[in-house]
């Protein structure tokens, strides 16, 4: 596959590392002993049945939840490791990890442009007094962030929707907008939680293309949660499979797909959750047939 070849070619150092991460909610273990290693420049997909702990992993990485055990480390571009443990979400974002949400969380009453601009200008220095007095540097900042936001919207294919209210966009566009907003904070790692959920086949293909462009043109590492196997197989360099909060398989997409434990996990889930598995199970089957 060409995708894996790209990964091998890029072959960057580590950018994100977790060791023995365990997260419990009362008696429920939602993440158990997770060891994740992500390389700079790769697209790593996290898959698994519903309730496997994928979103919990994102929440742990971005500081929304604090795991009871384990280490979380982000490796900066200069090679210095920084612990993510106990960091507030906004600090994690400023370190270079930006995310989107499974259940879209946009600022619905703001325009698409404003949504992105908010993230683009989050670290600007102009304070309330400079803005009240309309100081030249505050104006300059404002212009710069608006320009940057427009650029990112264009990049995400929302160039024609700049002044539309976020709440009035369709699902596909809302997900793109969330991605543009996440990109506006200049991340090194982009965490996408089911970016193609609720979209149709064409939109899914556009989404795959966008993810690849983010990875290749902007040189951003992508951690991707996705149920749609076709999408995962087409963009991911590597896949990690979670089930009941544990990593049950890890490797190249085509390896993982054949892994008996993975097939088992999805078949087991099929009995509980017919709706979702029909999609994933089929996809796994189809991909198998292709080879």
């Amino acid at each position: 596959m060409t995708a894996t070849a790209t990964m091998d070619a890029s072959g960057g150092g580590e950018v994100l590392r977790t060791r023995g991460v365990t997260l419990r909610f009362g008696g429920l273990v939602s993440l158990q002993d997770i060891d994740l290693t992500m390389r700079r420049g790769e697209i790593l997909a996290v898959i698994g049945p519903n309730g496997a702990g994928k979103t919990s992993l994102f929440n742990v990485l971005t500081g929304v939840y604090t795991p009871q055990e384990g280490e979380l480390t982000f490796i900066r571009a200069d090679g210095a490791p920084v612990s993510l443990l106990g960091r507030k979400p906004y600090r994690v974002n400023r370190l270079g990890l930006a995310r989107t949400f499974q259940n879209i969380r946009l600022f619905a009453a703001l325009t698409a442009l404003e949504n992105v601009q908010i993230a683009a200008e989050r670290a600007q220095r102009s304070g309330p007094i400079a803005n009240m007095l309309g100081m030249p540097w505050a104006r300059r900042d404002q212009k710069a962030s608006a320009g940057r936001a427009a650029e990112l919207l264009e990049f995400a294919g929302l160039g024609a929707r700049v002044n539309e209210l976020a709440g009035n966009l369709n699902y596909g566009d809302q997900r793109r907008l969330e991605m543009a907003r996440a990109l506006a904070s200049d991340p090194e790692v982009l965490l996408l939680d089911e970016p193609a959920a609720g979209t149709n086949r064409v939109e899914k293909e556009q989404m795959a293309a966008l993810i690849r462009r983010i990875n290749e043109e902007l040189a951003i590492s992508v951690l991707l949660i996705e149920h749609d196997m076709r999408l995962v197989m087409s963009v991911a360099h590597r896949v990690m499979v979670l089930n009941f909060g544990r990593v049950i398989a890890e490797g190249r997409p085509e390896q993982v797909q054949r892994d008996p434990a993975v097939v088992e996990a999805y078949l087991g889930a099929a009995e509980e959750d017919a709706e979702n598995t029909r999609e994933t199970g089929d996809a796994v089957g189809r991909e198998d047939a292709d080879e």
Partner: protein, 461 residues
């Protein structure tokens, strides 16, 4: 689908039976229930507009007078029934009303576009409003001039400040007037009007920055530990803060003068600069100009703030705190900023008020005042400066105007009725803010969650 109709029919038949079984007696149907509601409202209207009594016997006799005076009873209940009839059978009337409304909207649209087009139309409108504000009080009687300054003017400043806190940052602050009190007592202290003497006695004008900074500090001090709390808790904390300030003012006799308040008169502000000598005396008009100037400056500064990164960040924090944090915003910092800016504005209003009236005591700063400012802001349209100003002007002048028509102690009841009606029929306020109105619209169509206090849930899924 051919199979669909068959199964649909088999579903439909039992439904009809259920509907028949569940049919209520006629008087329990909504329409007739509503009639009952309107009649009761008519009776209530008759009672409140009827003769008033004090004490138990007088109460009974006044009620008797109300219910035996056929004209009043008839008119009031008649109004109720009429309203009901319009509501139930007025559909044909509604269509022309709607077209008229649309027509007005279409007529106003070009004006609106002109207004939104650039800076000049806004400046022109602002200048006109300012001119009207400068001229109108000159035409009023002295009593109304006092009302303009002590009722409306001071509350305009307060409302513009509270709008930042609740309208933009979405923080429910019920103790806003506590900062007003801090500002007023600051000026009393620094002008030497309290039992304790300040290190230097200052002119009220010079106290303004000191009072503003004091309130800023008080806002930060209160906000730092509490703004991490969710909306509802914050409301309680600010309520408590108000009570603390009030009780300190009331009980720290040696410092604040206790419930009797200031011991000496707070001097009027005066200017002695560059050969300019002016003293604000007892006449209300100069104070009105002072307030007008302060309000105009604040309006300009705050509207710039609203359209800056700070204002956008406030909207983000208000709409979805989790997403705001995930986008790199330090939400606590932005809330603190709004809180402190509001507190300083409140303090400024306190200085102006105290130096106008000369004597202050704790009862100038009741909890009711906080609630009133809050209701002016909500009535006018949270988040919209124009709305907040208009709302405050309307609601502060209304009780004064009602004075000549209804018993004095009833005035606030009408105010309450107006607020209730407003919240039912136009919750976005007189002149809603663009962003808030969108939020309400989106919430009605089921997208996003508009929430008066913006207390976003704390969990992600």
């Amino acid at each position: 689908m051919s199979g669909g109709t068959a199964s649909e029919e088999s579903f439909r038949r039992p439904k009809v039976d259920v509907a028949r079984l569940r049919r209520d007696a006629w008087y329990r149907r909504p329409r007739w229930r509503r009639l009952l509601g309107f009649v009761v409202a008519g009776l209530a209207l008759a009672v409140v507009t009827g003769p008033q009594g004090a004490g138990s016997t007088a109460l009974m006799s006044s009620l008797k007078a109300t219910f035996t005076s056929v004209p009043r009873l008839g008119v009031c209940v008649g109004i109720g029934v009429l309203l009901w009839a319009v509501r139930e059978f007025g559909a044909p009337l509604r269509a022309p009303a709607r077209t008229a409304q649309d027509g007005v909207a279409r007529g106003v649209a070009p004006l609106r576009r002109f207004y939104a087009a650039g800076v000049w139309p806004k400046l022109a409108v602002g200048a006109l409003v300012l001119l009207a504000g400068a001229v109108i009080p000159n035409l009023l009687s002295p009593t109304w001039q006092v009302v303009f300054v002590e009722q409306m003017g001071v509350y305009l400043l307060l409302a513009v400040g509270l709008n930042v806190v609740i309208g933009w940052a979405g923080l429910l602050d019920l103790g806003f007037v506590a900062f007003y009190a801090v500002g007023a007592y600051s000026v009393a202290f620094w002008t030497g009007s309290l039992p304790v003497q300040p290190p230097v006695v200052l002119n009220p004008f010079v106290v303004i920055p000191i009072a503003v900074l004091t309130c800023l500090a008080a806002g930060l001090l209160l906000g730092t530990p509490t703004l991490r709390l969710r909306g509802d808790y914050l409301a309680i904390v600010t309520l408590g803060f108000h009570e603390i300030v009030y009780l300190v003012a009331k009980n720290a006799d040696g410092f604040t003068g206790g419930s009797r308040g200031t011991t000496k008169m707070i001097p009027h502000p005066s200017i002695h600069l560059f050969g300019l000598d002016y003293n604000w005396m007892f006449d209300p008009l100069p104070y009105w100009y002072l307030i007008l100037a302060f309000t105009a400056i604040l309006v300009v500064l705050f509207s710039r703030l609203e359209n800056s990164r700070i204002g956008r960040a406030w909207t983000a924090v208000r709409e979805d705190e989790v997403a705001a944090q995930a986008s790199g915003l330090n939400t606590v910092r932005y809330k603190l900023m709004a809180f402190a800016i509001g507190a300083s504005t409140s303090g400024l209003a306190g200085v102006v008020y105290a130096s106008k009236v000369g004597f202050i005591n704790p009862d100038n700063f009741p909890l009711l005042a906080s609630i009133l400012v809050l209701s002016y802001v909500i009535f006018g349209g949270m988040g919209s400066i124009a709305g907040v100003l208009v709302g405050t002007a309307l609601l502060t002048l209304l009780p004064q105007w009602l004075k000549s028509y209804v018993p004095a102690e009833d005035r606030y009841m009408y105010l309450g009725g107006l607020l209730v009606a407003m919240m039912i029929f136009r919750p976005q306020g007189v002149i809603p803010s663009r962003r808030r109105q969108r939020e309400i619209k989106l919430a009605e169509s089921g997208v996003g969650g508009a929430d008066a206090t913006g207390a976003a849930g704390g969990t992600t899924s």
